[in-house]
């Protein structure tokens, strides 16, 4: 990593913008070219300063999938403020509580804050475009390596997100390592359908601009074909998505017929995507490399990346750690386990956060002497490739043996005809616990249940297999395990005609008791 005289991440990013750098809004074709983007970032810093904000003050940023909120986020950082990017839905629902928790002094939104919580909490409300400072644009505010750049909300399932303290040094270290791991050129254009309030979205914005590239925002992923056509139209080279995004592309888009000649790579993080889905993506768009990656908000964003040339022989692995990250696999006794054995994945490096905001107990539990205890159960092979086997607490104990849900879900997802699977535990008289599986099947699902049952080893007793249309996921595409039991009884939820209609017309919604 370089040793900059200036640690302000946004200032470094602005310095590195290239001639082709721009932010573009695909639906409207509105764009901010490099000179305009530089000015807008500095103008936002000036606007925040004029509102009375001082370096170190926190400002909530309402994020959407248009360029302006990203500029406000970078502008806050440029002015030495601590940006708290939150998606607009979170802001509308939990803005008041998050303002209190962060002691934010201001809130910026593109189109105004709903309700009067900001005024009641004494927050300055800023809206829309920044002042135009003309030729008096301010210089960036000096920051040191450990100064906070952002508070990033975790994407856990708790109602109130934890806030991860991300420093300027964290951002520089992670951004530079990601650029190296993805071998980004200086002419890249990312298609971004994730908000920068999510660390994966932020990392795509950071890496592409920091390396002289551009970012195209598209809020229309619900109509996935429009995004695919925009990738072609705007010459995008990278597409970033969570597993659900790839499932939508494979099942609910015309990706097989829309050419995207400019695309060089798919980036995937935010949970495990089945090996079968990765292979399908590769087969449909063979000219684009597929990067399977792993990360956590607590590690700024990215922790590991599977080099695309190893996609086949290391299928299912999340790859090797980024080049400035050290890993350990730690057993229950706190000692490193032998190669190939499972333990908790610990990571260290300059991109690891100092901890959570105002949560000393949880910070002590996860951040230990420079190491981040990820809570993910993993193993490392002799070549150093990491394999995530499950998540702490996400286990089932059958016949006295603990098996991670992730391992079960990977096994089932490999069955022909299965698109996705989620596993849960139910009490079982003999085994202690038994499996109950929720399976999303490909269209012709007749034999899938039998095939899934055949794929399970005898030591995994299975109580039921339910075919469902979709798995419950949160806004970031993460599986919400707590909602799985509700899937089991569509016909009992009021017993109305809709449930019956679904059984008649959609065999995929039927319950299979086996």
């Amino acid at each position: 990593m370089s040793s900059p005289a200036q640690w302000n991440f946004a200032a470094l990013l602005v310095e590195r913008l290239g001639q082709g750098s721009e932010l573009l809004d695909a639906p409207s074709s509105e764009r901010l070219v490099a000179t305009e983007l530089r000015a807008a970032i500095a103008n936002f810093a000036a606007t925040f300063a004029a509102a009375g904000l001082r370096p170190g003050d926190r400002v909530l940023i309402g994020c959407n999938l248009r360029p302006l909120s990203s500029v406000a986020y970078l502008g806050a950082m440029f002015g030495g403020l601590v940006a708290v990017p939150l998606n607009e839905t979170t802001l509308a629902g939990s803005g008041e509580a998050l303002a209190r928790k962060t002691r934010a002094r201001a809130v910026w939104t593109e189109c105004g804050v709903r309700g009067d919580w900001a005024a009641r909490g004494g927050l300055r409300e800023l809206e829309g475009r920044p002042y135009d400072t003309g030729s008096n644009a301010p210089a960036p505010t000096d920051r040191s390596e450990d100064d906070l750049a952002a508070l990033m909300a975790t994407s856990g399932s708790t109602a109130m997100p934890r806030l991860v303290k991300v420093s300027h040094g964290n951002l520089i270290a992670n951004t530079e390592a990601i650029i190296r791991s993805q071998r980004l050129g200086s002419d890249e254009r990312a298609m971004l359908v994730l908000p920068v309030s999510y660390c994966f979205g932020a990392s795509v914005l950071h890496t592409h601009l920091y390396h002289g590239g551009a970012v195209v925002f598209d809020s229309r992923f619900m109509f996935a074909d429009k995004v695919l056509r925009a990738i072609a139209h705007y010459g995008c080279t990278s597409f970033a998505g969570v597993p659900t995004a790839y499932q939508i592309l494979l099942r609910r888009s015309n990706i097989r017929t829309i050419p995207m000649p400019s695309l060089r790579r798919f980036l995937q993080a935010g949970g495990a995507l089945s090996v079968a889905a990765v292979q399908q993506m590769r087969a449909i768009v063979p000219h684009a490399e597929f990067f399977v990656m792993y990360g956590q908000t607590e590690a700024t964003a990215r922790i590991s990346c599977l080099p695309p040339q190893r996609l086949t022989d290391k299928a299912g692995s999340v790859g090797v750690p980024l080049d400035n990250i050290t890993v350990r696999i730690v057993g229950a006794d706190g000692e490193d386990v032998p190669t190939g054995e499972s333990g908790e994945l610990w990571v260290a490096g300059k991109s690891i956060s100092a901890g959570y905001l105002d949560e000393p107990e949880e910070t002590r539990r996860r951040f230990r002497g420079g190491w981040l205890a990820t809570g993910d159960i993993a193993s490392r092979d002799e070549e150093g490739y990491l394999w995530i086997n499950g998540r702490e607490g996400e286990f089932i104990k059958m016949c006295g043996i603990r098996v991670g849900f992730a391992e079960i879900e990977t096994t089932v997802a490999a069955v022909h005809g299965v698109l996705e699977c989620a596993a849960a535990a139910v009490p079982h008289a003999e085994a202690g616990e038994a499996l109950t599986l929720y399976v999303v099947a490909a269209e012709r699902a007749d034999d899938v249940v039998a095939a899934v049952r055949r794929s399970l080893p005898p030591k995994w007793p299975c109580d039921s297999i339910t075919l469902v249309a979709e798995l419950p996921r949160n806004a970031h595409g993460k599986l919400v395990r707590s909602q799985l039991p509700q899937l089991a009884r569509p016909a009992l939820a009021g017993g109305d005609t809709r449930a019956r209609a679904s059984e008649d017309s959609r065999p995929a919604d039927e319950i299979w008791r086996t």
Binding site: F221, M222, T244, I248, S253, N254, S505
Partner: protein, 85 residues
Amino acid sequence: MQDVLARVQRAFGSAFDVEPGSVTIDTVPGDIRAWDSMGHVTLASSLEQEFGVTFDVDELMEMENVREIVRILQAKLARLDKAVT
């Protein structure tokens, strides 16, 4: 048309936990907070359940607002009627 809209409203109610009556023929995705890419998939499933139909990909892409959804469903239901008679 009225009947289709009422059933569309019911599907919105179960997909997004909104008051069915708050959904009108002029409702667009920006009006409903949860109507994003994930929400669109949920909505499609909800509409498919309500009407006992399945949407193909092209239809999903055309469902840009309630007016379009009603139009697509009317066309679909008309085709089904024809096939039956």
